[in-house]
Symmetry: C2
Amino acid sequence: MGTGQQRTGGTKEKILAKSLELFASKGFKETTVRDIASSIGLQQGALYNHFKNKDAILMALIDQLMSSAIVTIFEEKEPSELYKRGKALLANIATTFKLLSFDGKNEALFRLMMQEMYKNSDIRDLYHEYFYQQNIKKLSAVFFMMMQEEMIRSSDPLLLANEFLTPLFFYQTQVVLLKLDGKSTSSAVLLFEKHVDYFWKSIRIADKEENGGASYG
Amino acid sequence: MGTGQQRTGGTKEKILAKSLELFASKGFKETTVRDIASSIGLQQGALYNHFKNKDAILMALIDQLMSSAIVTIFEEKEPSELYKRGKALLANIATTFKLLSFDGKNEALFRLMMQEMYKNSDIRDLYHEYFYQQNIKKLSAVFFMMMQEEMIRSSDPLLLANEFLTPLFFYQTQVVLLKLDGKSTSSAVLLFEKHVDYFWKSIRIADKEENGGASYG
DNA sequence: CACTTAAATGAACGGTTGTTCATTTAAGTG
DNA sequence: CACTTAAATGAACAACCGTTCATTTAAGTG
């Protein structure tokens, strides 16, 4: 007894994966336990060997969301290291946002979060704390250091962080929505890079005109 | 016969108003016909004298959404008139966004749209066409004229329109979410105005230094 | 082999859902 | 007044929901 034998063929993981897909595309309430079970070739009752109830499946997915790539935009380094990379850091963040919209699992987690946020205060807190606040704070710390080093014009770091991340978040949403209808995402995708260029040009200290010249004249 | 006598005490409107409230806070599927009926002191069956079924209520609300203030950010004037107002126009748009988050009905329509967008392609189309595309196009026309008149630096008008509207949309969402938890919206609200200042400063042609000086030195 | 036990079955349960409908109520019309 | 008709009632229905459970299956262990 108590040897904790593992006999599972990964059913629990299958349940989570299929539930995520279904919750993301139909919504939590609209997805029935029978939907989930039949999507992996089981009877409804079998699910209750792996989860206490339907809500427990959602909670397990929320846990996944918290440690997912969605909420960890930055690499593991500290702001005091990150700021040195300048525009390349911003470009990297933008690319991360862009790729997340095209990774199946992250996209589903994103859609789940967006839909249930308005009903579920746990998801709302998670969105606020991890998805928004944490990234905003870290990025404003980066901008603060860039200002001290006179890489960028000095202004409100928190505002700058919002100005930079906010459009990325919006474009990410746009891409996800466009994909739902099978529409082209190319023009939305272009905006990711255009935003980085535009943003960096508007904040950098234009001493050296590092690459492209001024766009007017 | 056929005189079309109106005997109603506005029940149909009550149904729509209460349904909107309930759909926005609990979701469409989660709201029962009995919820709606009892919220206006009726029995469930009475609703079917006014709407064919539950879906018809949602569709009626979608029609309201289409003509609501949410999707008509601009005044009725043409871009060739609007552009002359310069920064004041942008400030006005930002204020409109801000106020919409505090108007009960518009806020509810917004929440309904955000929740059901991912499941309902009608709402998704409406969001894309009216809420996003229409405003983006009109604003880029305005920016284009501002460039021709050398009020602002010349660049991609479509990009500029996105750069301006996108943060406003995000802040609007933030305010709505914060209000759901009864949290303070003051710092989010501040960002509306900060954004206008920051944005205008970064695009205007800095010939005359119209008000605030450069922020570094 | 016998024994244990995680996992799957499938019927069954109580509750809730959207919807229907015969009936009643009450307001407008001549 | 009598007549018409929109609106409200409240019980009822069939379908569907999440969940339970006695039972079976099958894999690991000694």
